[in-house]
Symmetry: C2
């Protein structure tokens, strides 16, 4: 039984996956979710995460399946299931081996961030003091990602590296989960210069619902969020925006500690949090799980978007982007 | 049977190890050699390289043994054997795991470069276009190396990263194999600013005999080399210099290709060479193997060093540095 319109795509989630969450995706009519399968994992550990997803696809085939193409999203919408797309928030799974780019694409990976908060072998993260741009290896890896159809994601990267990645990539890139820094000046949010360059090269921004990226954090209202979307549409064009909720549902606080500290730190790093508020912040009341996407669609109408634009923002733009991005160059 | 004076230490070699080379170390009276056991290897591959050395120690115990302390150098000199000290030319063996610093020290590693030509997770390599200095992870790793007694080596790192490492490290660091850029402006050679800062903080420079680091390359004469040593002693002080020959004896050209390209590149990188001269350059006639160290000692006398200073440069300074560096902080 197919989902109701509009077709909904979430450009990033990292929840503690369970049958309950897959049922909520189904109830919410979410046709596709880009799920994170790596923060700090190396190649072998990432393969173990893929293998855990293979078991989920086997156990819950009535609700979810592994998505690899834009057609899979349309099929999911028609069949009333959710296509799960794999992505990496770090380049750690390719280790120092450019040959692993193609291997990971073959295994179904469709997005890879060039850095996660810290300096990587490819690019600089947004928490480093200084950003020298894309490295020697980074230039080669971008070309290889372009060749095979693995999307460059710069959500956690620093400003200069992001501008250079947009410029160096022969194909449009994505910032799957972030908001404009002009609206809320978090280190993870993006400057107008980045957002304009991203759109000018055909790229996509996914709006984040993670409280540290919202003005007013957990108290941000749906109307304020949708007003920000409208202002960003004015800046970037409505074809270049979608949702990338960064939903981390049901995760224990040990997971956000892992995200921030991995294995690189002996001191405790609190990232966007603080010693006083070290854990996951509470979600806004209007976006707690996958059933709340439709509320965003209503909120977008309320700030003046027409049905066609709401459909674009809720999923249509992501489907178009997937169409152009996941095949060979 | 003990070696003749002076005690000789070579601060870096990466040869195609064989009984013949160990016999030459013995004939040359070389009490200690810091050998490279990693260029691009990850942790597991580095352990395999250690295990290959364990076999060599077992097979050639009359000639070599695993060195871990300054005392081992003195013992080797007295016994007429060569103490082999392990070092890493890259931080790839610690992967993204700061806990591997102590593990590798326990396994006998005594030097680790923070980067090798390219950007690493810790620092920038000398072939990158821009150098943002020591990264967030790099700062923590330097502190951890200081704690356990693993020497920071910046031979292949870029200028700003090197100056910051000298400054951030609570213990003296080393540039095990390089020459002054003022003498021969190779990308791998070091500025006077770096050399002065290195000496001011108690660090050591090992002079390289690798032709790309020599003025005149393979045609550089012993007298020219020793004259350069004398000028560097004027700049840094005679207590801060030694030999780090970078001898790559009997290696096939495939090895220099591996050093330069690892697994990071799909294009061919020629490093200090060129498409026309892609292989190892020929050694100067006066430094072909470990039997030629004594010739350098004579050359140093010929340019005016007294016996005490020759003894310092040929090995005494390295022994003092090992004494201060390899134990817990």
């Amino acid at each position: 039984m197919s989902f109701a319109s509009p077709l909904i795509v979430d450009g990033l989630q990292y929840s503690r996956w369970s049958e309950e969450i897959f049922r909520q995706m189904n109830e919410g009519g979410v046709a596709a979710v880009h799920v994170t399968i790596c923060y700090h994992e190396n190649f072998r550990e990432t393969v173990a995460n893929i293998s855990a997803w293979n078991r989920r696809f086997e156990d819950h085939g009535d609700l979810i399946f592994h998505g690899r193409t834009a057609d899979d999203v349309r099929r999911a919408h028609t069949e009333g299931r959710t296509a799960i797309f794999f992505g990496l928030q770090n380049c750690s799974p390719i280790e120092d081996d450019i040959g692993l780019v193609e291997v990971l694409h073959t295994l179904g990976i469709r997005f890879m961030q060039l850095s996660y908060n810290n300096q990587s072998l490819l690019a600089t993260g947004c928490y480093e003091a200084d950003d020298p741009g894309i490295t020697r290896m980074g230039r080669q890896v971008i070309a290889e990602m372009n060749r095979v159809g693995l999307v460059v994601d710069m959500s956690h990267s620093a400003e200069r590296s992001t501008l250079e990645a947009i410029d160096l990539s022969a194909r449009p890139i994505a910032i799957t989960h972030a908001n404009p820094a002009a609206w809320h000046p978090a280190l993870r949010n993006k400057s107008d210069a980045v957002l304009k360059a991203l759109a000018a090269r055909g790229g996509m921004l996914g709006f984040s619902l993670y409280p540290h990226h919202l003005r007013g954090k957990s108290d941000c209202t749906l109307a304020e969020f949708c007003e920000m979307v409208a202002r960003t549409a004015d800046l970037m064009g409505v074809e270049h925006i979608g949702i990338g909720s960064d939903l981390c549902q049901d995760q224990p606080d040990s997971v956000v500690e892992w995200m921030r500290n991995g294995r690189w730190s002996r001191a405790r790093d609190y990232g966007e949090g603080s010693a006083a508020q070290a854990g996951f912040p509470p979600q806004p009341a209007w976006f707690r799980d996958n059933r709340d996407h439709r509320g965003i669609a209503h909120g977008l109408k309320a700030v003046g978007f027409d049905d066609a634009d709401v459909a674009r923002i809720m999923g249509g733009n992501w489907v178009d982007f997937f169409e152009r991005s996941f095949g060979p160059q």
